[in-house]
């Protein structure tokens, strides 16, 4: 469970004022299954769910191994990543609460795009606080956030007190400041809700649509199920339904679960398991997780989505219990894997998702013929051209 810090106002109490209420209920529910509301199911269908689950036969041939490699492709969603799964659910619940507007923060912009589209589909206004450095470098996502009808501010902005406190024209911004701005923005107006993009349990619950679909689509159970980990939502979404079945003895008895993280933010392989703030500034309740410290500053890497300092509490627990293994990769080796995959399977993978590819390749080389690997390709990289451009130059 989340907890409050020693000092200051209760962050837990704050949640009730900013989050859609159904999400808080989901965060604390004892239920194993939460039905997907009809409107959310319809929205999922409209944006292309179920997403494909494909066998990477050309990749297998290039590797020259007799290992079967499958991938679930969340980049098929119109924003290009799995983030839309929870954004749609959250926007729906915000609307159920009577909200007319949602707000959030975004770094590289995946989450901001997902929230903007979800808001558009449910007829809500959206306001996005985007770290200023990304606002300047990820112009594609800024543009498409606007195309979806949302308002996007570089953070620190001059429209919140927090923003004005930090504001300098050259301030690069941080996710922590952007979160604080979004929360302040929500609190300062009527009928607004804050939508968080990862880490919280309800986010992982919403993402479990990935794994639930994949289980239906799998022609064979994998020996390894692999995903990359930023906060843990795509990994959890893909693997938890399988882990659940394994724990309940309903299948996947031989399946191992492997989390691929960035060496730039190796919380699962090198972090501490303890209470920490999920945000840099400490406006949210503490959660127990593998963390590098909420003030950890990762080196700049292409996989902006993996630079997060912690891993979702449930994922951290599973890691601690030995049900999930983790491995960290440097971006150079990840990029090689990404290029190999693109040339074999056609999809330009997101830098984040490429960590899962790299892990899959490494595992494939060690497994006996006939083994099966499944990984989650959480997004495509068509909007990460800056990463690919720098990588080619390097």
């Amino acid at each position: 469970p989340p907890k409050d810090p020693d000092e200051g106002d209760s962050r837990i109490a704050l949640l009730t004022r900013i989050l859609p209420s159904a999400l808080i209920d989901q965060e604390f529910t004892a239920e194993r299954w939460i039905p997907i509301p009809g409107e959310v199911r319809e929205a999922y269908a409209r944006v292309g769910r179920p997403t494909p689950y494909r066998r990477a036969e050309a990749l297998e041939r290039r590797l020259g191994l007799k290992v079967h490699i499958y991938y679930k492709y969340e980049g098929a969603l119109p924003v290009g990543s799995h983030k839309l799964n929870t954004a749609l659910a959250q926007a729906y619940y915000a609307k159920q609460d009577g909200a007319e507007e949602v707000a959030t923060e975004t770094g590289a912009g995946q989450w901001g795009m997902a929230v903007s589209l979800a808001a558009a589909l449910f007829g809500l206004k959206a306001t996005v606080f985007m770290t200023r450095s990304s606002y300047n470098s990820k112009r594609q996502r800024v543009t498409f956030i606007r195309t979806y009808g949302a308002t996007v501010y570089p953070s620190p902005s001059d429209i919140t007190e927090t923003g004005r406190k930090f504001y300098r024209p050259d301030h690069p911004g941080s996710l922590g400041i952007a979160i604080s701005e979004a929360v302040e923005y929500v609190l300062s107006g009527e009928r607004r809700r804050y939508l968080p993009g990862s880490v919280l349990e309800f986010v992982l619950i919403h993402q479990s649509v990935i794994g639930l679909e994949a289980i239906q689509q799998m022609p064979e159970e994998p020996d390894y199920a692999i995903g990359c980990v930023g906060g843990g939502s795509n990994f959890g979404g893909f693997t938890y339904p399988m882990i659940g079945m394994k724990l309940r003895g309903e299948g996947f008895s031989k399946t191992k679960f492997l989390a691929a993280e960035s060496a730039a933010a190796p919380k699962l392989t090198a972090g501490e398991y303890r209470y920490d703030f999920p945000d840099a500034v400490g406006v949210l309740p503490l959660i127990k997780m593998f963390t590098l410290g909420h003030d950890y500053v990762p080196p700049a890497v292409h996989a902006a989505g993996l630079r997060y300092h912690g891993a979702a509490p449930s994922l951290s627990l599973l890691k601690r219990l030995g049900l999930v293994d983790a491995v960290a990769y440097r971006q150079e080796e990840v990029f090689e894997a990404a290029v190999l995959f693109a040339r074999a399977e056609g999809i330009i993978p997101a830098p984040e998702s490429s960590h899962a590819i790299k892990a899959a390749l490494d595992v494939a080389k060690k497994l006996p013929p006939g083994s099966v690997i499944a990984f989650n390709l959480s997004g495509h990289g068509l909007l990460d051209v800056d990463a690919y451009e720098r990588a080619h130059v390097a």
């Binding site: 907890k3 837990i12 109490a13 009730t16 004892a30 309740p285």
Partner: protein, 244 residues
């Protein structure tokens, strides 16, 4: 031993708001409460909400010393954080037994130190106490079954994230689910129960008992002992009327 059903428990931090008021409350509780949960003051009451957290800070004596010379009522359960007593569960259980408590509840045991579960059970049993367990409302079903197999005094379900902070959570559903997986174990629900209506709803959903903490302590601090007892009596009456 067995607690009555439905049972009303009262939480209070030891020696709070001061030694005198605390003792007065303790000696009056038999009238209105079926059991009492005594918080062992700590410097780090990590799962408590702001009000109880403050009570720990205000307690003059921290730790087991706060139990010195107390005459605990029947069905008293100590509440302490496992973190403060790692490797010293036996001493904790002995002190609890010596002060007349029937159990020690460690709310952070399963969350933060699941590997210490067996050690805890052995320590309390060795000292003639029953174990009690705390579970958050989102719990592994298999764990609930395992805990039930230790035949504890109760399973305490934390309805929300922290004491005294109500969230928009459908707690009745969670209690029902806990009931399904905990078998016959006595289920206590707690966190932010502040009215007879809430108490009725929670017992109605399947809890065997409940604990009132923050709400009663606020009244004690602001309006005194008699008002506190009256508030508790109202809840007690509400439970009795359920005829379970």
């Amino acid at each position: 031993m067995r607690l009555p059903k439905p049972g009303l428990g009262v939480y209070i931090t030891a020696q709070w708001p001061n030694s005198e008021t605390f003792r007065s409350l303790l000696s009056s509780l038999d009238q209105v409460a079926d059991f009492v949960e005594i918080g062992v003051p700590t410097t780090n009451p990590k799962y408590d909400g702001p009000f109880i957290r403050l009570s720990h800070r205000e307690a003059a004596v921290k730790g087991l010393g706060a139990l010195q010379g107390l005459d605990l009522p029947k069905n008293a359960v100590l509440m302490a954080y496992a973190e403060d007593y790692l490797g010293k569960f036996d001493a904790l259980a002995r002190a609890a037994a010596e002060s007349g408590a029937v159990s020690v509840l460690l709310p952070d045991l399963l969350v933060d130190f699941p590997e210490a579960l067996e050690e805890y059970v052995l320590a309390v049993r060795r000292n003639g106490l029953d174990p009690s367990f705390f579970l958050p409302s989102k719990f592994p079903y298999a764990l609930a079954g395992r805990l039930a197999s230790y035949n504890p005094l109760f399973l305490y379900i934390g309805l929300y994230a922290a004491t005294g902070i109500r969230l928009p959570v459908y707690v009745e559903r969670n209690i029902k689910i806990a009931r399904q997986y905990a078998g016959d174990v006595y289920i206590v629900a707690g966190f932010a129960i502040d009215s007879a209506d809430r108490a009725r709803a929670i017992v109605g959903a399947g809890a065997d008992g409940l604990v009132v903490g923050t709400a009663a302590m606020k009244i004690l601090k602001e309006r005194g002992l008699q008002q506190t007892l009256a508030f508790l009596a109202e809840i007690k009456e509400a439970l009795r009327s359920l005829n379970i």
